[in-house]
């Protein structure tokens, strides 16, 4: 007599699986509620909010300059671009034009931060898929970049390196030479990573055809940054709505063809090379002059609202700030974080793939949970 409780071979039930929040491959505290058929993903539902700190509400309680250290904590691997986003929005609201030297220093810091952020992405993405070696090489270069940050502003991670109206310090002596040496050496390092991964057959098998996003879907869901460009849409805030002095700089926007994980990898690699190109131009043309515009000691806004956005390493980072007349703090500050918007497409990208591919897709979206939950 057979046991009736045992399921038969061809009648497999769907299984619920909670992936995270303490899983090392979720890049923080993301939890994904999976419905599995064997090892195939039937449905995935990202659950967020484990790192919610109420940053947007916090902005309403403090004067404008004091908000900047708090923006550092949102996307904590790319603090400089967070500062830049807030400052660009505030300058738009207050009608401040920043001096050219300040704009160039800002662009250099932002591009260095883009390199550092992409290096962290490459390291974690590769380590998720199983390639440990790039981690050591990318973190070596990232440390050199963080040394430059430390020399400039005194912090390595949460930088607080920009002010409304410019930048707080001038470049220290010898900084330009050291940055120049790093910029000259960097393309060789990118070649090294590409040697390790681009033609690697394991890497290709794990990434080609995984998490495909059609360009129409990408636009409909509001993807920005490398996930959008990987699908073949040429869209970059630095080009379409230039801020600081990006309109004076010559660079290209790389785009992918197929919109899969491999294309997004290639797009980010070319983006790093373009960042090096921007840095080289900034270093060559660095103008002299003041680094901060003349602004009142206590910033008072007028009645109004503004949306200012920058191209963060992960996509479009925007700040929507509403102010009342003569207020010293925002009435409301809404942040449009790129990771939050990009994460929306996760269920569509992983449906039908295996659980191991979910890890690759989370890695390719390059999410930071501090930014998603804010």
């Amino acid at each position: 007599m057979t046991d009736q409780r045992l399921p038969s071979l061809f009648d497999v039930e769907e299984m619920e699986l909670s992936f995270g929040p303490q899983h090392p491959a979720t890049h923080g505290v993301l939890r994904v509620q999976l419905r599995l058929d064997g090892e195939k993903i039937v449905d995935a539902k990202p659950i967020i909010g484990y790192l919610h700190r109420g940053t947007e509400k916090l902005f309403e309680t403090m004067p404008f300059p004091q908000c900047i250290p708090h923006t550092d904590r949102m996307d904590y691997v790319a603090a400089a671009t967070n500062n830049q986003g807030f400052c660009v929005a505030m300058e738009k609201l207050l009608g401040i034009t920043i001096p050219p030297r300040a704009a160039y220093i800002r662009m250099m810091l932002a591009e260095l931060q883009r390199l550092a952020s992409h290096l962290v992405w490459l390291a974690t993405h590769a380590i998720d898929i199983g390639a440990i070696t790039p981690f050591f090489y990318t973190f070596r270069e990232r440390d050199a970049i963080l040394d430059l940050f430390e020399e400039y502003c005194g912090a390595r991670l949460t930088l607080n390196t920009m002010k409304i109206g410019g930048v707080p310090f001038d470049l220290p002596a010898g900084w330009v030479e050291r940055c120049s040496a790093l910029v000259d050496a960097f393309p060789a390092h990118i070649d090294e990573y590409e040697e390790l991964l681009t033609n690697n057959r394991i890497w290709k098998k794990r990434t080609i055809g995984i998490g495909v996003v059609a360009p129409e879907d990408a636009i409909d869901w509001g993807l920005t940054g490398p996930p959008l460009r990987g699908s073949g849409v040429r869209w970059d805030i630095r080009k379409v709505f230039p801020y600081d002095r990006y309109d004076e700089i010559d660079f290209e926007i790389p785009i992918g063809v197929n919109g899969d994980t491999y294309d997004r990898y290639l797009v980010r690699m070319v983006e790093m090379r373009q960042s090096v190109r921007i840095l080289r131009q900034c270093l060559d043309r660095l103008p002299a002059g003041p680094v901060i515009a003349k602004i009142p000691k206590v910033l008072r806004a007028r009645d109004g609202m503004v949306y200012g956005s920058v191209e963060a390493p992960k996509g479009e980072l925007g700040y929507f700030i509403v102010t009342t007349d003569k207020a010293t703090e925002p009435y409301r500050c809404r942040v449009r974080p790129p990771s939050f918007v990009n994460l929306q497409l996760l269920p569509d990208m992983v449906r039908g793939h295996l659980v191991a591919d979910l890890v690759a897709v989370i890695g390719t979206l390059d999410i930071v949970l501090g930014e998603i939950d804010r």
Binding site: M62, P65, Q66, C67, I68, P69, H70, D72, R73, T133, R140, D143, D147, E150, E151, Y152, C153, G154, A155, T158, N160, P168, F169, P172, E192, E195, L196, L197, N199, N200, R201, I202
Partner: protein
């Protein structure tokens, strides 16, 4: 199938290329620094641990106002000199709750004295303690005496003969002349 295709499938050339990169680093010098034996020197602007100079401080409380998380606590009282009948503000409490500090440096930026009376550039990063409420709550006395706190770069500390009345922290002229002659009677 062509022979080259077949061979490239059979022999993993791409993997060997990656191995060549790692093999190139096999005999090179290590990049890591063995921390307790070797310590890196932070840069001049490194925001590490607090330093405070009560002699330079003018008790304006701008640092407490500039702090985004309000961890600087100030209190003062008015003292009257019995001889000259002059009123003087005296700081009775200057506390920093360092365990909550995020080292943004806004307090140093807000300080109106030159050089700042409160600074973060004391070139130390070893702030680990066993008990955080006890070890990372600095009052006025501890801000001075804490082993990690050093003088603002380029400024003399009071122990080295700084004139308390000079906000720039230069060596007093008379004392400098006195130390120069070092015991010899002046002509």
């Amino acid at each position: 199938m062509r022979l080259t295709d077949f061979l490239s499938r059979l022999i993993p050339v791409d993997l060997f290329k990656g191995l060549a990169v790692t093999g190139g680093y096999l005999l090179k010098r290590k990049e890591t620094v063995q921390y307790p034996e070797k310590r890196l020197e932070p840069t001049d602007r490194f925001r590490g641990m607090f330093g405070y100079d009560s002699e330079r401080c003018i008790d304006c409380a701008l640092c407490a106002k500039a702090c985004p998380i309000e961890i600087i606590y100030l209190a003062d009282k008015v003292e009257i000199n019995p001889e000259t009948k002059k009123k003087k503000k005296v700081i009775t409490r200057y506390d920093i709750d360092v365990k909550r500090c995020m080292f943004c440096g806004l307090c140093e930026e807000a300080c109106p004295t030159e050089p700042p009376s409160i600074w973060l550039t004391s070139k130390t990063y070893e702030g680990a303690v066993y008990e955080r409420n006890d070890g990372l709550y600095f009052d006025k006395r501890r801000l001075f005496s804490w082993q990690g706190v050093q003088a603002f770069p380029g400024v003399l500390s009071p122990a080295e003969g700084q004139d308390p009345k000079d906000p720039m922290g230069r060596k007093p002229k008379t004392e400098a002349a006195a130390t120069d002659v070092s015991g010899e009677p002046a002509p």
